[in-house]
């Protein structure tokens, strides 16, 4: 770990320089909604006390539609062609801990036994410049899932606001090399090491361990009937989420004898997600699907990959059409768990 300093003005200049240098630079759009190459060039989003974007930065690593290969059928002779991947080096700036942490979490599922190079190549090709967060609302719960506003998980370089500048902490070799390569934009940091300042709240909103333990034993419980009752079965929650990663594989025809096989975002709340060709559907109700969503995030993924499939960003709750609040449900589970053990 190394500490450097970068003035706000220099950060803008660095981004401009990178763009000219054929980097793909990704920041937050002027409306604060999502991460894009068409980001706000004034870097107004580099304030740590504003809400996170409505849509996570996942869409730049795990694409909403990814071409897997192209096929062509020449009178029965099949020709398969690899897709052309944007090989430009990518720099992502302004991501909060609740975004950056998703990359190592997702890496687990995309790499057990079979390595998904579409995801891996994008991550390897990127420098993630994360930023300390000073925002906190009733939907946030990064602390409760083992992260914090200071979490460097998933960042290559971590920025900590310091007056009109940022303290730049190098987290990975990749980050170190990046700072060395663009050293002219940085200066030595001579101040005290930044304090691991406390998060907005000391008291935990829920205790993850007791929630997990309750989930281990309560696959059948009336809680689930109520939790999913007004769910509309849309994919909003999954699609804004930094860690949801379910996908579909489809062929899209272009003309009669050529086309593309694509990997598209899918969501466990969609009623057709698990439906068999026979018509049988293991998760045929909203209640079952909602149970799957919570259980996958807070139990199954942890059982399998020792990670919680949630960064506590609160996006799904802020955007839910029927205001289902995942934090409220987790707090409720925590309460049920305590009332039954006491």
């Amino acid at each position: 770990m190394k500490l450097m300093k970068i003035e706000k003005g220099n950060l803008s200049k660095l981004m401009e320089h990178l763009k000219k240098d054929n980097f793909r630079v990704i920041g937050v759009t002027p409306d604060g909604k999502r991460f894009s190459e068409k980001f706000d060039e004034t870097l107004n989003f580099m304030q740590s006390d504003t809400p996170p974007t409505s849509i996570s930065f996942k869409e730049h690593f795990f694409l909403k539609t990814e071409a897997l290969f192209y096929y062509k059928n020449n009178n029965g002779a099949i020709d398969l062609k690899e897709p052309v991947i944007d090989e430009r080096k990518t720099v992502v700036i302004g991501a909060r801990p609740c975004d950056t942490a998703s990359l190592p979490i997702l890496s687990k599922v995309f790499n057990w036994d079979y390595a998904d190079d579409f995801f891996n190549r994008r991550v390897e090709n990127s420098i993630i410049i994360g930023m300390k967060c000073n925002y906190q609302d009733d939907y946030c719960f990064c602390n409760e899932v083992g992260l914090s506003q200071n979490s460097e998980k998933g960042s290559d370089i971590f920025l900590i606001p310091d007056g009109d500048a940022f303290i730049a902490k190098t987290i990975t070799d990749k980050g170190n090399k990046f700072i060395e390569e663009f050293a002219i934009f940085f200066e030595e940091y001579t101040g005290n090491p930044p304090a691991e300042n406390k998060n907005g709240h000391d008291e935990k909103k829920f205790d993850y361990e007791s929630v997990k333990k309750w989930l281990d034993n309560n696959f059948e419980h009336k809680f689930w009937d109520e939790a999913g009752e007004t769910c509309l079965s849309c994919g909003q929650c999954a699609f804004v989420c930094p860690t949801c990663h379910c996908f579909d594989i489809v062929d899209e025809q272009c003309g009669t004898c050529a086309g593309v096989r694509a990997k598209n975002w899918d969501a466990c709340q969609f009623s057709l997600f698990t439906k068999h060709a026979s018509g049988h559907n293991p998760r045929d109700s909203r209640e079952k699907r909602y149970r799957q969503r919570i259980s996958h995030k807070f139990k199954y993924y942890n059982d399998k990959f020792s990670e919680i499939l949630c960064t506590g960003c609160g996006r799904c709750s802020r955007g839910c059409p029927v205001s289902t609040d995942i934090l409220e449900l987790l707090e409720e589970i925590d309460q049920i768990a305590h009332s039954t053990t006491n």
Binding site: L80, V109, D116, F247, D248, R261
Partner: protein
């Protein structure tokens, strides 16, 4: 490496098993794949019709026979409908093999009971031939197979072959009302025929594949006969897309059917959330 890109295979022959089930004999286009491809009984693959998509089914031929790969499918949806229209000489895609396999080692030195219904005979056929090709390693072999009607029976020629084999007891049944005037086999549902055949549970292992309802009613029969939970083996047929443990579709609890399965013992199944 692009884990989603299939290898090309040619359809060498097509066998119409029943009005809605076909078997394809397949061979890799690439010589390298023909030489290198290996798998274990019970594993599955993703088959592509380019322009239509992929579908999942087991490899139905045994690993002991490498000239062709075989798969059997029932016309049920978009991709199987497209497969049905394919002809000899056509090229399709294949990704695999995926998933775990039948516990061949656990079966060695034991009596083996195979129970299958409908197209569920496809994965069982793979392990039956595997066992028969290594006949000395196993004790008595019992096969109980049933289908809705006589015309719905798959692998008819092989059923006759198994019937004639020494040390193999083959019982074929059709559901009541599915028999023809010249039908000489059993009439009745698979679980009750298993009860009637009553294979010995001592030093035995049972492999059961078929429609969920058949599996559900066969387990209690076997339990009554004395089979233990870890000596009853079945396969789960959840909807799959990637086959690689990524797409999240086949999960039952923390189990990915495509990687941790599709083969499960009854004991393992009881530990899963009842959501399949």
């Amino acid at each position: 490496m692009n884990i989603y890109k299939p290898e090309l295979v040619e359809i060498m022959d097509i066998i119409q098993e029943t009005p809605d089930i076909k078997t394809f004999k397949l061979q890799f286009v690439s010589k390298k794949m023909r030489e290198e491809f290996s798998f274990l009984a019970g594993q599955f693959a993703e088959y592509s019709v380019f322009g239509e998509g992929e579908c999942t089914f087991c490899i139905a031929s045994p690993p002991t026979r490498t000239e062709y790969l075989e798969c059997s499918f029932k016309i049920a949806g978009k991709v199987t409908g497209a497969l049905n229209k394919m002809n000899k000489g056509d090229i399709i895609g294949l990704r695999g093999p995926y998933g775990n396999h039948f516990p061949l080692e656990q079966m060695e030195g034991k009596n083996v009971v195979f129970i299958a219904g409908g197209i569920g005979l496809a994965p069982v056929r793979c392990i039956i031939w595997n066992v028969l090709d290594l006949r000395d390693k196993f004790k008595d072999v019992t096969i109980v197979y049933g289908a809705r009607s006589v015309s719905d029976l798959v692998y008819k020629r092989e059923l006759e072959e198994w019937k004639k084999m020494d040390g193999v007891k083959t019982v074929v049944t059709v559901d009541p009302g599915g028999e023809t005037p010249d039908w000489t086999g059993e009439v009745g549902f698979v679980p009750s025929i298993v009860e009637k055949v009553a294979p010995a549970s001592e030093n035995s292992i049972a492999i059961i594949c078929g429609p969920p309802i058949m599996i559900k009613y066969t387990f209690p029969v076997l339990e009554k006969l004395g089979f233990t939970e870890d000596n009853m083996i079945t396969t789960l047929e959840n909807r799959m897309k990637c086959g690689l443990g990524k797409c999240g579709r086949c999960n039952i609890g923390n189990v990915y059917v495509c990687k941790d399965g599709p083969v499960f013992s009854y004991k393992e199944m009881l530990e899963l959330p009842q959501e399949y």
